[in-house]
Subunit: 554 residues, 2 copies
């Protein structure tokens, strides 16, 4: 075990340093290139994925399943994947988690951190397999599937390990306390323990099955809590592969694999509520809709981290090059068909137009430039299909196709986006609607999917006010703003900071408001109703354990 700790210590130290420097750092290269991952890595990963189709998933070290279940289907093929997972009742899962608690909590933080970092090496060896699994459950493009579910997720997991390790070792394990009492010194030996809270439950979402799951999973684990991973029933395979890698490491070191379990819903029985309400479950990480998220937050006696829905805004005030801005925003709204929690939805444009250099470009021309950029991007057969991917669920597809607004104007209608390899791909190009700023009820909710709302405001002050108001009241995870005016910029920073929303200013070229970088950008702030699962600020880890001290005369 000492050797294992030493082997991973440099990675951990570098990660902690990166967390605090917040300059660029990635432990896992995001480029799926043969030079980095090996000439056969992609092929082997695809073959491994293909061999799982229609099979029982037997890798998990969780004995005696009650039945075999599975309901995934590929958004590209609109066919079942046919993978079947072992099902266990919540009572069994919780009892097994509790059974593993003592041995796991008694390890030192450095031991847990090393074992979990080793599990990420295992995950890395399966990045391509995870990528195909992600593509055929979420509808993400190949590249996004690789990056988001592989290296980016692993980096966020390493972040959580590093942050958890750092916080648990921030106070001494032992010290001598010597108080001068005048004629003598009072001397005490004091020790402290970072005590884990109990069983952790991590409830995943259908669109980012590993990226949104691994931070809470590894944060709970590194702080000594056994975890039960309850994925969305339509996106199990990517995280099942990660759980299998963690179990492999646990088992190799003589620990109980049930310290980290997969909990799959049966086809006719959803188990999230029962798990969440189990008294032994003390920590819950949740990604998904706000309604269930609020139920999770309402449970007494649980420490909860959520990422729920929100409405993300773009504020257009002034810029140097409108075409470049429009291209950047068209990409952001099209990327994975708006199914990212960071995708922009509401685009606030002043009625008087947008100042571009010395010129004032009229409102209508701004709208048309945006619409042209979107349609140009999506219609480009070499680019469009690989950006928009597929819609994860048929329900989203149907809802987006039936979207209707009172008043306003449809600027761009949705339509299919032909995929070069998958004829059956469930696709839909972005819809653009124009709505008056007064119709706030029409743009104050998240419209999940490829929807761009252009909201005509009196001026930038109203744009800022509305963006901040929506973030405060309904939540927001990202905000983009374009302004060349330093005073307006400060006003946006000030108001959006109070609304707990990070802002990307003046993005053009190859960086997008949707993206955030591990070790640098905090994802979700906790400052608005979109949630408090901030990857990875100190709060995300320290609430998972308790400091308890002991003392005795020396």
């Amino acid at each position: 075990m000492l050797e294992t700790i030493q082997r991973h210590q440099a990675t951990l130290d570098t990660a902690i340093k990166a967390l605090h420097g917040r300059t660029f750092y990635a432990a896992f290269p995001e480029n799926p290139s043969p030079e980095i991952y090996g000439a056969d890595a992609d092929r082997l990963g695809r073959e491994a994925f293909e061999s799982l189709r229609g099979q029982h998933f037997t890798e998990l070290l969780q004995p005696a399943p009650e039945q075999w279940v599975g309901q995934e289907e590929s958004p590209y093929e609109q066919q079942p994947l046919g993978v079947k997972y072992p099902f266990f009742s919540p009572a069994t899962l919780v009892a097994r988690a509790q059974a593993g608690f003592d041995e796991w909590r008694r390890l030192k933080p450095a031991q847990r951190a090393a074992l979990l970092t080793e599990a990420l090496d295992g995950m890395r060896s399966r990045f391509f397999e995870i990528a195909y699994a992600t593509m055929h459950t979420t509808g993400q493009s190949y590249t996004m599937s690789f990056q988001a579910s592989g290296p980016h997720a692993a980096d966020r997991a390493l972040e959580a390990i590093a942050a958890g390790y750092e916080e648990q070792t921030r106070f001494p394990e032992e010290t001598t306390w010597e108080k001068p009492m005048g004629k003598y010194n009072l001397t005490m030996r004091k020790t402290w323990r970072a005590v884990p809270k109990g069983v952790g439950l991590v409830i995943g979402c259908s669109t980012f099955p590993t990226w949104n799951t691994v931070p809470g999973m590894f944060a709970s684990l590194v702080t000594g809590n056994p975890v039960i991973i309850k994925p969305h029933p339509k996106a199990v395979l990517p995280i099942a592969l990660v759980v299998a890698e963690v179990q492999k490491v646990l088992s190799a070191y003589g620990l109980s694999p049930t310290i980290c379990q997969l909990a799959v819903d049966a086809d006719d029985r959803l188990i999230a509520r029962e798990l969440a309400e189990a008294p032994a479950v003390k920590l819950i990480d949740y990604t998904g809709g706000s309604q269930f998220g609020e139920y999770i937050e309402s449970l007494r006696g649980k420490t909860v981290f959520t990422e729920k829905t929100g409405v993300n805004s773009i504020i257009l005030d002034s810029c140097d090059d409108l075409a470049k801005v429009a291209q950047n925003l068209a990409f952001s709204v099209s990327l994975y068909s708006g199914q990212m929690c960071t995708a922009p939805q509401n685009f606030f444009v002043p009625a008087a137009g947008v100042r571009v250099g010395a010129e004032l470009v009229p409102y209508d021309q701004v709208v048309q430039t945006l619409a042209d950029a979107v349609s140009g991007l999506v219609a480009n057969p070499k680019v469009g299909p690989h950006i928009v991917g597929a819609l994860q669920s048929a329900a989203t597809h149907e809802r987006v196709q039936q979207l209707a607004f009172e008043g306003g104007r449809t600027v761009l209608a949705h339509g299919p986006v032909a995929h070069p390899h998958y004829e059956q791909a469930r696709t839909c190009s972005p819809t653009i609607h124009e709505i008056d700023a007064a119709r706030i009820e029409q743009f104050s909710q998240e419209l999940f999917g490829p929807v761009m709302l252009i909201i005509k405001t009196r001026d930038t002050a109203e744009s800022i006010h509305l963006a901040a108001h929506l973030a405060r009241e309904y939540g927001a995870i990202s905000c983009g703003a374009y302004t060349t005016d330093a005073r307006v910029k400060e006003q946006i920073m000030d108001e959006m900071s109070l609304a707990g929303t990070p802002v990307s200013f003046n993005l053009t070229g190859n960086i997008y408001v949707n993206q955030n970088a591990g070790f640098s950008d905090f994802h979700v702030t906790g400052g608005n109703p979109a949630g408090n699962a901030s990857f990875t600020n100190p709060e995300f880890v320290i609430k998972r354990f308790t400091w308890v001290g002991f003392r005795e005369p020396a």
Copy 2:
């Protein structure tokens, strides 16, 4: 302002270092000696206090009071103090707090930390005045009044300032992020802000009006939140003096004094609920009974820190010198007549007795030794009255006098403790009752005041089980244990750590389970129902602000 920051930087740096080293540190000497605080300090402080009796308290920089209110009385004199405070309606208090928010949050953490440290210097200059105010509102002895409300409180306040400053400066204000993209680098300028949550409310208790108030008060302030201090209506003056000192510094630096306001209940109108429910109030620190504490915790959209009631245990297994142990415990149970949140209540003694060295001392003899130690201590006219102090409230006095148990046996009856200077002092010596371990309903609640319950258990294993069970289910803030057996010790540490309760082992001599040391002992862990207001772990400060990031192409 720069000069102010420089002047206090060394204090702040030392405090941060102390927080992490957790060795002995005190910025404010606890000894009320003329050599330290000046030859006239005690006399001047007493005179200053005396001059406030029967007067309007006009120091606060809060204009236009709606009325003058006050209902304090001295537990030593059982006479009203007659001090009248300005009353403001909750709406006025909240509006004024909000009006001060912008200027306060826009200061840098280093500026706020320096101003608040300066306010502690002002508090230090009034330690003796605060001591007399504390004595004549809480009933604490002179020495405890000085130490707890003066230097110990100021140290805990400095802890909160230091922890808050450190956490807010843990990530860079600005950095350049440069990502290699193959042929070029993507370069972003990134900045972060620690954004305060909003108005803070601090609800104080009647027994430790500054010690339990200043940590939350200074933690909220240093993180940029204006605060409203709502003391217990019977213990206003000590904290009013502290608030006045903070306001003095704010005003001297051209800031609004309403960044820190005193909010006193009117004689016929309690305002805590109205303040707590105000939408602008985002942070609440609460010390007091569990019922109101649970109401505070149930409020949605608030970040809450509580210290509620608990039942503290002593586990007697084995020791080297029973007489010394009994003396130590007698002192602990008598100190301020059991009105400390850390006072022990339940003493678990195995039916077979306690092993003392090579000998097994029978149960009855252990009980008698404890009772003799208590009665000997209290009956000593030179010591007793100065240890037990007075009972803060007539209600506690009455309740303790009427305590009745089903079954069991009264080992020692309560009685008055004559005070050498105050004939009218409201005193009551500790009551000792013996209860069988099966009657858990009789010892599972906090019996506030001088009450010692001796619970006969089957063995030490049952003692540990009961102590941990009570802590987990009903809360505990301290635990004392006596054992010479390393295995038993580890078992106690393990079980009590899971119950979120710190343990003091084998205390004899001049250190007591009730006491905890600033910069070293975490007070309250968050790991059981007694509360989560942990002085001062990182969680106690980081939940008061939100990290928000901004980025822009460089």
